[in-house]
Amino acid sequence: MSRYLLGRTIALVLTALAASLVVFVAMAVLPGDPAAIILGTGARPDTLAALRAEMGLDQPVAWRYLEWIGGFLVGDLGTSYTYSVPVADLVAQRAAVSLPLAVLALVLSTLIAIPVGVYAASRRGRAGDVATMGVAQVGVAVPNFWLGLMLVILFALTLGWLPASGFPGWEAGLLAGLEALILPALALALPQAAILARVTRSSVIETLGEDFIRTARAKGLSGEAALWRHAVPNALIPVVTIMGLQFSFLLAGTIIIENVFTLPGLGRLVFQAIAQRDLITVQSLVTLLAISVIVVNFLVDLAYAALDPRLSRGGAR
């Protein structure tokens, strides 16, 4: 087990390093000198050279990479070209919106998908199954940014229950913050829930066909009890993997959704940074997001092993 963990951790670090290298190289080969962008086209060569030296741009590429990635290890993500503040501060400030949004979406999607999927599986082939899976089939096809607009039209403009856009900041109180996030989170969560519900359904159906379900029924368990005690726990193990994969979708989804709802999150930061050619911010932010996806997948693997005794406990014979 510890060997497995060690191997996985090494793979995690290597993948993260490779991801950072890919981002760094991609940004380095981009045309355009950051110093020239900051100073504008009319800058004098000597000021340009001075700024380049200050930004470390005159150093060899390999050294710049090492310096940048070394900074990562101590939480220094560089200094924003345009805001002249540490990128880490910018990220922390924006993550306070994006992270709760992604987590809320993941929670909502799970809370909706698993009961729906289990219900459909238990009614397999009958009206309840066909109806819920029909809705899920449509749900998978709905683009989340359009769903966001529709939710705004319904809940904000027509019913007036929730704000249409913007974010008051957490200083305005937990409730006000959540109110601003609930529609975007729903827009992100519902299409994901549709996918997750379909996965849950087929996983539960597969498990219900297993011999041990018959053993459970032969013990005297009701169909319902066999479903919840024996089928669902087993069926959810693969669902956890899908949830991990969805994290990546949700991260990408926030970037567009934050535009729909004008939320000051990481997605907006990416757009602003790109628009202003604040390349160091883009570079560090993308790397950070890639690393978080890698870490989440790593955690999912661990959770998978922990949930399935066949992986976590060796044979005794």
Partner: protein, 284 residues
């Protein structure tokens, strides 16, 4: 003797898959709409008519008009062109690079396989849409860059799928026979392995096609897809957002178009998978 009947099961629906039929019909309509728009639309999609701006749906304009008085139906019809072209080319780019990579990994194994597989792992670490946004934003908006940005993330999908399917085939007897006959790995891949992967690849292509349509709409929505005046569904949604209070139908119809097109392709993919793989049909 008591003749009691215990009813243990309810009525079940027949096993035949309507997904395939419905998916096929929707996809055909979607393609036909794009083709028809090449020669005919109710109005010129890009024709401005400020006098008729923001009209609600009516007989003259079934889906209404936008802020510049352009006919929404005509725009949606013409917008299908962009969706199809960008999505098809992006999927072809992805498959064109991914399939050979996957086939190579399966044929050679060892280090080549490791390199290809670890590269796909790495690619999956980058959220696809986010990265597509950054690529188009930095390289400049437009159809070609959108295709490249979306196509890149199809490469690992096709590479993995092809490798998985091909690995199984390489163990089969007819491939062993071909090897014994002295055929090269390349010849075996082309003659025996790839033809037998077609079914799974076609199913996946359908699904990737649907994803590419959403991705294209997403890019256009944030202003990074095809540029005006060429109509595009994502761009229409972006424009509609400004008038969401006064003309909500502007936001409804392009999104419906995306949803229905994607739904049709997903149904088609499901139906094809069921039709091509009897094992899956049983599990449904």
């Amino acid at each position: 003797m008591s003749g009691v009947v215990r009813k243990t099961g309810g009525r079940r629906l027949p096993a035949a898959s309507p997904s395939l039929v419905v998916g096929l019909v929707i996809t055909a309509i979607f393609v036909a709409m794009a083709l028809v728009s090449l020669v005919w639309t109710p109005y010129e999609p890009t024709a401005l008519n400020i006098l008729n701006k923001l009209e609600a749906p009516s007989l003259a304009h079934p889906l209404g008009t936008d802020f510049f008085g352009r006919d929404v139906l005509s725009q949606i019809m013409a917008g299908a062109q962009v969706s199809i072209v960008v999505a098809v080319v992006a999927v072809l780019v992805g498959a064109g690079i991914g399939v050979p990579l996957g086939a190579l990994a399966a044929a050679r194994g060892g280090l080549v396989d490791d390199v290809v597989m670890r590269s796909t792992d790495l690619a999956f670490a980058f959220p696809a849409l986010l990265t597509a946004v950054i690529i188009t934003a930095l390289a400049g908006p437009g159809a070609v860059n959108a295709i490249v940005a979306i196509g890149i993330f199809n490469i690992p999908v096709f590479a993995r799928l092809t490798r998985g399917a091909a690995l199984g085939l390489w163990k089969r007897d007819f491939v062993l026979a071909a090897r014994c006959a002295g055929k090269s790995d390349l010849a075996i891949t082309i003659e025996h392995v790839l033809p037998n992967c077609t079914a799974v690849l076609v199913v996946q292509a359908t699904i990737q096609f649907a994803l590419a349509i959403v991705a294209e709409a997403g890019l256009s929505y944030v202003g990074l897809g095809v540029q005006p005046p060429q109509p595009s569904w994502g761009k229409m949604l972006f424009d509609a957002q400004t008038y969401i209070y006064t003309a909500p139908w502007l936001a409804i119809f392009p999104g419906l178009a995306i949803t229905i097109a994607v739904l049709g392709l997903n149904l088609l993919g499901d139906g094809l998978r069921d039709a091509l793989d009897p094992k899956v049909r049983r599990a449904r």
